[in-house]
Symmetry: none
Subunit: 210 residues, 4 copies
Amino acid sequence: MTATDPIKDAVTQARQRQILEAAVTVFAEKGYHRATIRDIARTAGIADGTIYNYFKNKQDVMMNVVLQMAEVSSLMEDVLQAAQTMTPAQLLAMVFQNRLRTLRKNLPLTRAIFPQVVTDSELQQMFFEELLLPNMEKGEAVFQAYRDRHQLGGADPKMIVRGLFSVIFGTIMMALLGDTFILDDTDAFSEQMTDIFLHGLNLDQPEREQ
Amino acid sequence: MTATDPIKDAVTQARQRQILEAAVTVFAEKGYHRATIRDIARTAGIADGTIYNYFKNKQDVMMNVVLQMAEVSSLMEDVLQAAQTMTPAQLLAMVFQNRLRTLRKNLPLTRAIFPQVVTDSELQQMFFEELLLPNMEKGEAVFQAYRDRHQLGGADPKMIVRGLFSVIFGTIMMALLGDTFILDDTDAFSEQMTDIFLHGLNLDQPEREQ
Amino acid sequence: MTATDPIKDAVTQARQRQILEAAVTVFAEKGYHRATIRDIARTAGIADGTIYNYFKNKQDVMMNVVLQMAEVSSLMEDVLQAAQTMTPAQLLAMVFQNRLRTLRKNLPLTRAIFPQVVTDSELQQMFFEELLLPNMEKGEAVFQAYRDRHQLGGADPKMIVRGLFSVIFGTIMMALLGDTFILDDTDAFSEQMTDIFLHGLNLDQPEREQ
Amino acid sequence: MTATDPIKDAVTQARQRQILEAAVTVFAEKGYHRATIRDIARTAGIADGTIYNYFKNKQDVMMNVVLQMAEVSSLMEDVLQAAQTMTPAQLLAMVFQNRLRTLRKNLPLTRAIFPQVVTDSELQQMFFEELLLPNMEKGEAVFQAYRDRHQLGGADPKMIVRGLFSVIFGTIMMALLGDTFILDDTDAFSEQMTDIFLHGLNLDQPEREQ
DNA sequence: TATGAATGAGATTTCATTCAT
DNA sequence: CATGAATGAAATCTCATTCAT
């Protein structure tokens, strides 16, 4: 029974992807609440009921949409690991640019997801544990490494990472709240914030010393 | 024509406040969607229909809850104006602390409001035009003044303000997403971020020169 | 207590007229159901509650609007009585023209009143007993008189009157249902129908004989 | 694309009929406004929501009740076409009798429908375009044919048809307004009105000449 | 596994009417 | 008598979810 038939698994995964793709489209277009299961089913070209063979309920669909972003976001993890050979300056610049560009592409979906993640405690917890926390820990490790290599002043890596994440999430919020200034000139803002952090953390000096 | 009877006005305002207070309570407890008009009415100790004598609809109630926050926020405006006699360091420290402490007190309400502001385009626009933009402009003016007095390097005030607001909104987001680290030690984080910004903007040097 | 103070009575009647006038305006504009008591009060320039000092409820307002039409319609009674010196041809022509012209002026109000009279059994009964039946009886008397004077064939006056009233109400219905043909050329239709009836009832022959 | 599955179509139609039947019952009993969707659903033995799988809203249900009458009324069309072999006298007699008998059977439903058709402009337009106008045009054609065959005097067919329809609608109105005289003796009234029209239009003379 | 019709709980909103001032 | 704020019943409609086929 539980013997995993690889073919069936593949079919199942394909179907799930198909549904999630449709969900992403519809959520981005209408937001979570105004998106109906019927919308998603129609967009996916399947029947309403079929969705319930692959997901527990609407919340579960959203959950998996978010988790899917996790995988995309794990690209970021790779980046962070690869980043251990970078200077802090390079790292910061890259992270800012990467995140802001991603945001600009996905603003409508982001607008649908964030409110729901913040509102739904189950979703929020999942998001925190599966995505936010791991990534923050990655970041802390990187900054700890810098510190160990004396490339960094005495600032607490935890704090630094919070600062970085705050700027990034804050930028997202600003965009969602209607301030287009940052999005209009992503690169300038990235540079500016990179500068501030480098300087502020005294990361520019030690760097050159190397 | 519409000769304003001061007594009736007072009664009306009192009733509105009563409803908004109830709305704040209920929204904070259940979030926007799960909060029903009936909940709010019961909490306010009035009949459902009465709410519609004071607000157009549920969205309008939320709108006014947000606007009410504006008045609280206008405290911030005063602060900003009073701030013109402060050093940048003092200003930054104060703003950070003020905002984070306010946030910590109002986290549940914030959790109800933000998603809705981001989701509802009408609400979002109102929020942007009535609250966000004016406050940003105040901030820009303050930093422009610093710049004119040579207390500030060449950074664009618009950018600086975006940076500051991003950190603040980002911090809110972090809290809403479940990261208690910042909230647990608001003051340390404030200091840290103030430091980074001061340093990063070269605001510490000119200051001393004075 | 019940001593009727003529001054108060006059005031009361004036107020009632004021309300009914407003009601006519609002009913004509919105129809019975979409017209609110508030609409009527605003239009009359008084408070909602005041209406209930002069009328039992909304239905009662409508009832009196209809009764008011009765008085206008009693003009018709006068006409009918005066008509006893007319030839049948003159009478028919006059009645048709009179009714159709009145209709054309009051189409929107008619559109509001008829449905309600037909729907509300109390209103319907009142309308029948106070307006329809008396007028029909007047008509029957007139035609009976014609018959007695041998100006009319053997047709039953009751039937004739039903026929006449049917054409008139039917014309109203046609107009309410959207057929503008009759309304566009009221006079031609009046002539046509007069002709048919005169001819059909052999009213044209005896007439000339006189 | 929308390959029509005949079985599903049949089921759908059956369900629609079931709902409309219930609607007819409830509307006839309570009138449009006091009939609730719940009433109709209960009467049809289904859930409230199910109605919305088959009709857009309550108005749409009424609309289809009226349209359904159209099909019944199309019997009348057949009649009219078959009528081309009849003498005008036969035709008139038949139409009057047919309509009045139908009315007598459906008085309560008629009482519910007419007010709403007159009140709701969308419904009215549909009624006019789908039912009234086509039937009037049929009638005009028939009378034009009579005229061409010199069975009719110089009267304008359009006018004649308006006259006929007015009498019919007027009779309906009289019944709805509480005058039972006509309904009590449908046949006598039919004869009477047929006579008047025949005579009035000089339709009796040419007839005999043939 | 796929379908999609059926379900029915649930929420917003309107508005005639009342009644304290 | 006038006012108009308060009332709360009542009705439409939506949509996530189920389940028989």
